[in-house]
C-alpha cells in the first residue's frame, strides 16, 4: 500500500554517507577523520558520527594502528550471504538454550539455502531422551513455521516458491499459491509463524524472525514438538509458547546488533 501524505525529501545524512563512500573509493583509499570532514565541508563531529555508523555496518573499516578510514570488506560482498551461518549459530547459542529450557521443546534455527530451510542449529528437547542432532537437515519452505518466516520477509523467494509446485506432505500442507500468500501476510502482521501437522503428522512448530541490525531477516528460530504440546485444541499455537519464541528471536536480534 502506498501511504498518502507528504513524500519525504532526501535524507541529508544518507547523502553525506554516500559522498563519504565515494571519497574513500578515490586515490589512496585511506583518509583520516580531519581529511574526510574537510573534503566534504562537514564539522568533525558530524563526519565522525557518520563514519562510526558506516563502520558499524562494515561499509567502512578503521585501521587499528593509524586510525585512518577505508572502505570495508562488506561492500565487496553486498550480493552474497549477509551473515555467516556458523556465526549465526555461535551468536544464538545462549538464547536457543534458554528457549529450549523454558519451553521444554526442541529448538532449531533455520536459514534459507537453495530453495529450502537449512537447519544450522539444533538444541535437544530437555527431557534427556535419545535424540539425534539435526544440524544440516533441510526442511521445506512452504510446510514449516521456519520456512514461512523466511518466505514472509523475502519477496523474491516467496514469489519463486509460489511459482513452483507446492508439494503436499500431509493432508494439511498448504498447496495453493493463494493460500500461501494469505498465510505469509498474516505472518508479517503477527511477527511469527506456525505449522500444525503441515510437514509431519502429529508435529507442530512455532518460529519467529531473527533480524540483523537494520531489520534484515537472516534466519528463523523456533520450537517443534507434538501437536498437543505446541497447540491448543483448536490447532492454534499456544500463546505462552509464541511469546517465548518471539522473545528468543528478539534477544538474538539484539545480540547481533551488539
Amino acid at each position: 500500500m502506498v501511504s498518502v501524505g507528504t513524500v519525504p525529501g532526501p535524507i541529508q545524512s544518507i547523502e553525506r554517507a554516500a559522498a563519504m563512500l565515494r571519497l574513500l573509493a578515490r586515490g589512496s583509499g585511506e583518509y583520516g577523520l580531519a581529511e574526510v570532514a574537510a573534503s566534504l565541508g562537514l564539522p568533525k563531529g558530524t563526519a565522525h558520527g557518520i563514519l562510526r555508523t558506516l563502520q558499524r555496518v562494515a561499509f567502512v573499516e578503521q585501521d587499528e594502528e593509524t586510525g585512518r578510514y577505508r572502505l570495508g570488506a562488506a561492500l565487496l560482498h553486498l550480493g552474497t550471504s549477509y551473515l555467516d551461518a556458523n556465526e549465526l549459530r555461535s551468536r544464538s547459542l545462549n538464547w536457543a538454550d534458554a528457549l529450549a529450557a523454558r519451553s521444554g521443546q526442541e529448538v532449531r534455527i533455520g536459514v534459507h539455502h537453495d530453495g529450502a530451510v537449512l537447519v544450522v542449529h539444533h538444541v535437544f528437547r530437555p527431557d534427556d531422551t535419545m535424540q539425534t542432532l539435526g544440524i544440516g537437515a533441510m526442511l521445506p519452505l512452504h510446510a514449516t513455521a521456519f520456512g514461512k518466516v523466511l518466505l514472509a520477509y523475502d519477496a523474491d523467494l516467496s514469489a519463486a516458491t509460489r511459482r513452483r509446485e507446492l508439494t503436499s506432505l500431509t493432508r494439511r500442507t498448504i498447496v495453493t499459491p493463494q493460500s500461501l500468500e494469505r498465510v505469509l501476510t498474516q505472518v508479517r502482521a503477527a511477527g511469527w509463524a506456525n505449522d500444525a501437522e503441515e510437514y509431519l503428522p502429529g508435529e507442530a512448530s512455532i518460529a519467529a524472525p531473527i533480524r540483523a541490525p537494520g531489520g534484515l531477516v537472516v534466519g528463523a528460530i523456533g520450537i517443534s514438538g507434538s501437536v498437543d504440546r505446541i497447540c491448543d485444541s483448536a490447532s492454534r499455537a499456544k500463546p505462552a509458547l509464541v511469546s517465548q519464541v518471539a522473545s528468543a528471536a528478539e534477544a538474538i536480534s539484539r545480540a547481533l546488533s551488539d
Binding site: 570488506a73 555467516d84 551461518a85 556458523n86 556465526e87 549459530r89 555461535s90 551468536r91 547459542l93 545462549n94 538464547w95 538454550d97 534458554a98 529450549a100 529450557a101 523454558r102 539444533h122 538444541v123 535437544f124 530437555p126 527431557d127 534427556d128 535424540q131 542432532l133 544440524i135 551488539d258
Partner: protein, 504 residues
C-alpha cells in the same frame, strides 16, 4: 514477591561477562565486553587490569537493565575468572604497578629454567601439585618483583597487593582503597605454586623457594562463602562465591562425584576430573588441583589436563593471518575442503602444556605442499584442538586404567559443529553438550546460590543438567590411528626449538 536471580561475573582471558540466572538455571540476560590483549614482545601477553575493572563497572548495570531486574532481586554474586594471571597494585591508590601478566605469557622461561636447576626444586611439585612452568602465578610474580624498580621494597613494606583476577575484582567491588577485601579462593590459590596442596595454606618453603614476601598475598577462603557485599558499581549485592573458571565449569557441569569429568573449550581448553577427597599425584603429565571447596567442608580435589592454545589459535588465524573475519567462520572455511590435505598445525605458542610440559616447544605448520589451501589450514586449526583433547584424554585414561565412555563439553567453542564432530571422531566416544554452554558462569552462579540457600543442595543442581546436543563418532579406526600417528610426529617436531637467551 518479585522474582529473584543469581548473578555471575566471568572474568575470562579475552572478555568479561555478567550473566543473570533464574532458579531453573536458565540464562536471563548477558552483558559482555572484550578487553585488549597486549603482545609487546614475542611470547609476552599482558592485560590492563584497570580496563577489566571498568568493563565490570559497565556490564553489571547492563545485565540488570536488560533483564529489568533491580539489585535487590539479586540474591548472590559468584565470581569466576581466568586463572594464574598475575596483577600487583598499590593498596593506597588502587593503581596496578604495571600490566597484568597473563597465564599464556612465557617471559619467565629462563627464570623457570634457573629455578628448576636449584636445589629443592624437586620438592616443589610435591608441595603444590604443579610442575615448574611459566604458566603459573609464582614465576610471574617473581618476575614483577625482579623487574619493577622499587617493587620489592614496597612489597616488604606492605604497600602493594598481589592477586589473580578474582582477588582484584573482589578488592575493588568491596571498596578498593576504602576497605576492599584482599581475599582469594582455594582453587585460584591452587594455581599460584605458592599454596600447599595438602594443607591449602600458603607454604613457607614455597614462598622462600620463589623468594616472595608473604605480605603481598591475599587470604585464602573456601570457594563458596559469604565474602562480603559490594559497595561499588551495584552496591549491596552479596558476594557468595569465587572460583577459577575451570573449577566453576566443573561445578556448572555438576561433576560432583568422584570420576566425573568435563572439558571446557575457550581460549585454551581444560579437562578436569573430580577425584573426591583424594589427592592424586599424576604420573602422566596432569596437574593436581583443587576442584572446589564448599564452605565448612573439606576440599574436593581434581586432576587437570591443561591445553594452552585452542580458541586462541582461531583468534590468531583471524587477527594475525586475517584469513577469516570472525571466529565462527573458521568452520565455514574448513568446510570448503573435506580433509586436512596432509597439513597439521601444532600451536605450541606458549610451549606445550599437558601432557608434555615442554616450555621450549614452539608452534609449527607441517605437511605443506602447493596443494594446501586456506581451507586445509582451517581444518588443521580445528583438528589441533581435537588432537590436543585426545592427548589429555589418553593421559587421564593412563592415570586411571579405564577409558571414559563419553566426554562432557562446554564453552564458546561448542558452537562449532564441525569441531565437536571432529572431537567425537578422534576420541571415538560421544561428545555431550549440556543445555547451558556458559557453564563457567553457571558454575559460579551455582556456587553462590548454594552459599545463600537459593538452591538447597548439590542433588537439586544435578536435576538442572539436561543434554542439549550429542555428537557421535563417524571415522573408521584405521583413519583415526593414521591421523593420530601423524599428529604425534608433528608434536615431536615442536620440541627443543627455543634456546635460552645468551646472557648479556
Amino acid at each position: 514477591m518479585a522474582q529473584r536471580y543469581v548473578m555471575a561475573i566471568d572474568q575470562g582471558t579475552t572478555s568479561t561477562r555478567c550473566i543473570l540466572f533464574d532458579q531453573s538455571a536458565r540464562l536471563v540476560s548477558v552483558a559482555q565486553r572484550e578487553h585488549r590483549q597486549y603482545h609487546p614482545r614475542p611470547g609476552w601477553v599482558e592485560q590492563d587490569a584497570v580496563e577489566i575493572w571498568r568493563n565490570v563497572d559497565r556490564i553489571m548495570p547492563h545485565a540488570l537493565r536488560d533483564a529489568g531486574v533491580s539489585a535487590d532481586q539479586v540474591v548472590a554474586l559468584g565470581i569466576t575468572n581466568q586463572r594464574e594471571t598475575a596483577v600487583v597494585w598499590d593498596r593506597h591508590t588502587g593503581v596496578p604497578v604495571g600490566r597484568a601478566i597473563v597465564w599464556e605469557d612465557i617471559r619467565t622461561e629462563d627464570l623457570v629454567g634457573e629455578l628448576g636447576a636449584r636445589p629443592g626444586s624437586d620438592a616443589v611439585r610435591d608441595r603444590c601439585g604443579l610442575p615448574l612452568a611459566t604458566y603459573f602465578s609464582a614465576p610471574k610474580l617473581r618476575w614483577l618483583l625482579d623487574n619493577t624498580p622499587g617493587l620489592r621494597d614496597r612489597a616488604e613494606r606492605g604497600d602493594v597487593l598481589f592477586g589473580t583476577m578474582d582477588t582484584w575484582l573482589i578488592w575493588n567491588l568491596t571498596g578498593g582503597v576504602s576497605g576492599g577485601l584482599h581475599v582469594t579462593d582455594v582453587t585460584n590459590a591452587s594455581r599460584t605454586m605458592l599454596m600447599n596442596i595438602t594443607t591449602q595454606q600458603w607454604d613457607d618453603e614455597l614462598l622462600s623457594f620463589f623468594d616472595i614476601p608473604a605480605r603481598l598475598l591475599p587470604e585464602i577462603r573456601p570457594s563458596t562463602e559469604i565474602h562480603g557485599r559490594t559497595s561499588r558499581v551495584v552496591p549491596g549485592i552479596t558476594i557468595a562465591a569465587a572460583l577459577g573458571d575451570q573449577h566453576a565449569a566443573l561445578f556448572g557441569q555438576t561433576c560432583f562425584a568422584k570420576g566425573e569429568t568435563k572439558c571446557t573449550y575457550g581460549t585454551g581448553s581444560f579437562l578436569l576430573m573430580n577425584t573426591g577427597e583424594q589427592l592424586v599425584k599424576s604420573e602422566h603429565g596432569l596437574l593436581t588441583t583443587i576442584g572446589y571447596q564448599i564452605g565448612g567442608e573439606p576440599a574436593t580435589y581434581a586432576l587437570e589436563g591443561s591445553i594452552a592454545v585452542t580458541g586462541s589459535l582461531v583468534q590468531w588465524f583471524r587477527d594475525k593471518l586475517g584469513l577469516i573475519q570472525s571466529a565462527p567462520e573458521i568452520e565455514t572455511l574448513a568446510r570448503t575442503v573435506t580433509d586436512n590435505g596432509g597439513c597439521y598445525i601444532v600451536p605450541a605458542f606458549s610451549g606445550l602444556f599437558a601432557p608434555h610440559w615442554h616450555s621450549e616447544a614452539r608452534g609449527i605448520i607441517v605437511g605443506l605442499t602447493s596443494y594446501i589451501s586456506k581451507g586445509h589450514l582451517a581444518r588443521a586449526v580445528l583438528e589441533a584442538t581435537a588432537w590436543q583433547t585426545r592427548e589429555v584424554v589418553d593421559a587421564m585414561t593412563a592415570e586411571l586404567g579405564v577409558a571414559s565412555t563419553a566426554l562432557k563439553v562446554d564453552g564458546g567453542m561448542t558452537a562449532d559443529h564441525l569441531l565437536m564432530q571432529t572431537i567425537a571422531d578422534v576420541l571415538d566416544v560421544p561428545v555431550l553438550r549440556p543445555m547451558v554452554a556458559e557453564t563457567v558462569s553457571l558454575g559460579a552462579a551455582y556456587a553462590a546460590g548454594l552459599a545463600v540457600g537459593y538452591w538447597p543442595d548439590l542433588e537439586g543442581l544435578r536435576r538442572n543438567w539436561h543434554l542439549a546436543a550429542r555428537w557421535t563418532p563417524q571415522w573408521n579406526a584405521a583413519d583415526r590411528e593414521d591421523e593420530y600417528a601423524n599428529w604425534k610426529r608433528a608434536v615431536e617436531l615442536t620440541f627443543g626449538w627455543a634456546k635460552p637467551r645468551r646472557s648479556r
